[in-house]
């Protein structure tokens, strides 16, 4: 047949893409896309209020409410800060981790979630090694679910605390955010973008408050498709050129546990993408340095930079508690919730 006919007969209508039913619960935070810019702003403002509140009064906000932390992956920062945040609001928390629970015996995520709900959990904070797990948990439990990192997909509270840290440095004094708050600012994310949920959440959140996101890394760790994830995302493979354009420099760990057979020449990687004191001084002497942790000193970042004056890495950790207080409160307190 004449191939020209194919084009001529091209059909006009095809079935539409589905409309997402998520999130089922207005208190859930599965993706940064669940939040409007207004919603982001409210969380940032609330984080500061809660941080400044008297700890004695603060712990009545969620007094005796039950929150389960369900962790299928190891974690230091995220787990501890969620736990401290929930406890600071007075909630009872319980930790279930895959290595010391019936998950080891083959219990499914659905059954684990339903069990926690039956035990009285009113919200579940989930860290899981499989992308999308938080959506499944929310669908089967209909509880507010907070995504504390799902596979290679998203880590929304990390992006929120990164935003808070960035604002402190680039927009001091600014509390809430609007669509243009970070206009004119460039945030670069360097390294293992492909396997990074932190990168995905940040690249979807930061452009919505005006920032330009510049991704940097080798093809194996940064596929071209990354730039098509949303508006305001660009790729610059030359590390020095990217540094020169950036006011905030976020470095990422190479996720050895997710490389799945991919062979990387680490010496070459370090030569091209390691953030050193000299590079920073030459190309971005005034930029702030971020890293979601864990840091591998001497690989993606030198010890000198990690501990240096431009580093905001520990501020990020501290901000995690404030942001997570606001997110946990939103999950359980109706007037702080809502998709709007």
């Amino acid at each position: 047949m004449n191939p020209a006919i194919t084009t001529a007969r091209r059909p006009r209508s095809t079935p539409p893409a589905p409309v997402s039913p998520f999130p089922y619960h207005p208190g859930s935070l599965l993706s940064v896309l669940d939040l409007t810019v207004d919603g982001v702003s409210r969380l940032l403002v609330r984080a500061t209020e809660l941080e400044n509140e008297d700890p004695i009064g603060r712990d009545r906000i969620l007094a005796k409410r039950r929150i389960a932390l369900l962790f299928y992956e190891s974690s230091t920062r995220t787990r501890t800060s969620f736990e401290l945040a929930a406890k600071a609001l007075g909630a009872d928390t319980t930790l279930v981790s895959s290595l010391s629970s019936s998950i080891e015996k083959g219990e499914s995520l659905k059954d684990t979630g339903l069990t926690l709900r039956a035990l009285g959990a009113e919200a579940i904070i989930l860290r899981h090694n499989s992308s999308g797990a938080a959506w499944l948990l929310e669908e089967v439990t209909r509880l507010p679910v907070i995504n504390a990192g799902d596979g290679m997909h998203e880590h929304p509270t990390q992006a929120l605390l990164d935003l808070r840290t960035i604002l402190t440095h680039l927009r001091p004094g600014v509390e809430g955010v609007a669509a243009d708050t970070l206009a004119g600012a460039t945030v670069m994310i360097t390294g293992d973008i492909l396997h990074s949920r932190v990168a995905r959440s940040n690249m979807l959140l930061l452009p919505r408050v005006g920032a330009r996101v510049l991704l940097c890394g080798p093809k194996e760790l940064l596929p071209e498709q990354a730039a098509r994830s949303g508006p305001g995302i660009e790729i610059e493979r030359d590390f020095d050129a990217a540094l020169a354009q950036s006011q905030a420099v976020m470095m990422l760990r190479i996720q050895a546990e997710r490389l799945a057979g991919l062979q990387l020449d680490l010496d070459e990687y370090k030569a091209n993408y390691q953030l050193t004191g000299q590079r920073l001084a030459t190309h971005a002497p005034n930029a702030m340095v971020l890293h979601p942790g864990p840091i591998i000193r001497g690989l993606e970042i030198t010890a000198g930079v990690a501990d240096g004056v431009q580093s905001a890495i520990l501020e990020q950790v501290t901000n995690g508690v404030a942001i997570r207080m606001a997110v946990v409160e939103r999950a359980l307190v109706a007037d702080q919730g809502g998709r709007a």
Binding site: M1, L109, S131, G132, P223
Partner: protein
């Protein structure tokens, strides 16, 4: 056996070039007589089915289903899978060999066809190409054919080694069987659970590149060309990418016997339908890009696609209600194929009814070499589907005759409702 007369309908038999108001008499499992309305002789004693306003067509033939028996009866049995087939208008289904054990022997091939299985319609086993479908040692195709196998395939797994695929094509050609290839270079799809592209990146899922399919199709076509003298027949299962379809198109221009099938989900859905980790949109090959989907539609309309096949792949509910990456591949499709094809191919895209039905009966029959099926010419098997071509209805997975409910088409509007399905003269399904 009852004698049946289907009267008052519109007989559409593309293989015979018939589209006319006709009555049809079924006797002893065969088509006995065709005549104008009211003119059927020897109707005495026949049970009459009133087909006024309905289309009477050759029973549909699905050349790609998984019936899960032997070994995985919790997902589906031959009895339940064929009940779903009958409800969908199918009178013949070709069952893939990825059962447990793998159907790589005449014993399993015969077991699947035994009356004890309780099949509602005819089951034609497709036997494994290699022992255990491991892609190493080819089976005895002559013995498998003698036991009833209608084609050869390691479906679910590709035959990766060039030498083994060449040997399989040559051996199948010697006994007059088709080799059906699940085209996937598994070296490029490790750990992947959907199509590779912007959507997989966004969802944080590892993707299968389109080249994993087209690369194997191109390799297979080269082998068919090399073996040209022995006339091998390669059939590409569930083709899903524009590049692979282009390769098939070119092979046909070059005079090679290369055919392909498309599943309804690959001409209707795209990777966007994965949505937020809907495991009912996870199958292999995966839902592809809109450009690939459009290429499938184009291929069906312009004739390079030889058949519609469902790749009916039942799974138990609990197997799909887990993390997307861990969920098994596949969806059921026997009860939605006709309704979707009529609604979209015929209704929306204006493909003539006879051509749609041909893709689902005459052409798969020819592909598999099923004699006296896929047509209602006098003397053929009395495999008939009678449906209301105008009836609009909504598919409900919970009402499925299949044991499984894993489908992305739950709640979808359908066009064309099956009234009766008749398998070799016996009513296998009648709508309430």
């Amino acid at each position: 056996m009852t004698t049946l007369a289907i009267c008052g309908g519109r007989l559409v038999d593309p293989a015979a070039g018939v589209d006319a108001a006709k009555d049809i008499l079924l006797k002893e499992g065969r088509v006995a007589e065709i005549a104008g309305h009211g003119k059927l002789k020897g109707k005495n004693g026949a049970e009459v089915l009133d087909a006024t306003g309905l289309v009477v067509a050759p029973g549909l033939i699905d050349l790609h289903v998984h019936l899960r028996e032997p070994g995985q009866a919790y997902k589906e049995t031959i009895a339940t899978g064929t009940a779903a087939a009958a409800a969908g208008g199918f009178t013949s289904v070709a069952a893939m060999p990825n059962t447990s054990p793998v159907n790589d022997s005449p014993e399993v091939t015969r077991w699947m066809q035994a009356p004890e299985r309780g099949a509602q319609v005819r089951v034609f086993p497709i036997a494994a190409a290699t022992r255990g479908s491991k892609g190493e040692v080819i089976n005895d195709y002559a013995a498998l054919k003698a036991a009833g196998a209608v084609a050869i395939s390691d479906d679910g797994r590709p035959i990766l080694k060039d030498g083994v695929m060449r040997e399989s094509l040559a051996a199948a050609a010697r006994v007059g069987l088709t080799v059906i290839q699940h085209a996937e270079d598994t070296r490029m799809t490790q750990g992947a659970s959907m199509n590779l592209g912007p959507v997989s990146f966004k969802l944080g899922l590892r993707g299968m590149p389109p080249e994993a399919e087209s690369g194997i199709v191109e390799r297979d076509i080269r082998l068919v060309a090399e073996l040209r003298e022995s006339h091998p027949h390669l059939h590409v299962a569930h083709i899903s990418t524009a590049a692979a379809l282009a390769a098939v198109r070119q092979a046909r221009r070059n005079g090679l016997r290369v055919t392909c099938e498309v599943a309804p989900h690959h001409f209707l859905l795209t990777e966007e339908h994965v949505g937020l980790y809907n495991t009912h949109a996870k199958m292999n090959p995966p839902l592809r890009s809109a450009a690939d989907r459009d290429a499938m539609i184009g291929g069906i309309l312009d004739g390079v696609v030889d058949a519609i096949a469902t790749d009916h792949a039942p799974h138990a509910m609990h197997e799909k209600e887990i993390e997307f990456e861990l969920a098994p591949n596949g969806i059921i499709g026997l009860e939605t194929a006709l309704g979707l094809c009529l609604r979209w191919l015929h209704g929306e895209w204006k493909m003539p009814l006879g051509r749609v039905l041909s893709l689902m009966s005459a052409q798969p029959a020819a592909l598999l070499g099923l004699k006296c099926r896929g047509t209602l010419a006098v003397g053929s098997f009395a495999d008939v589907v009678v449906f209301d071509p105008k009836a609009e209805w909504t598919y409900r997975a919970t009402e499925s005759k299949s044991k499984a409910k894993n489908t992305p088409f739950d709640g979808w509007p359908m066009l064309g409702k099956v009234r009766w399905t008749i398998s070799e003269g016996r009513v296998a399904y009648a709508s309430a």
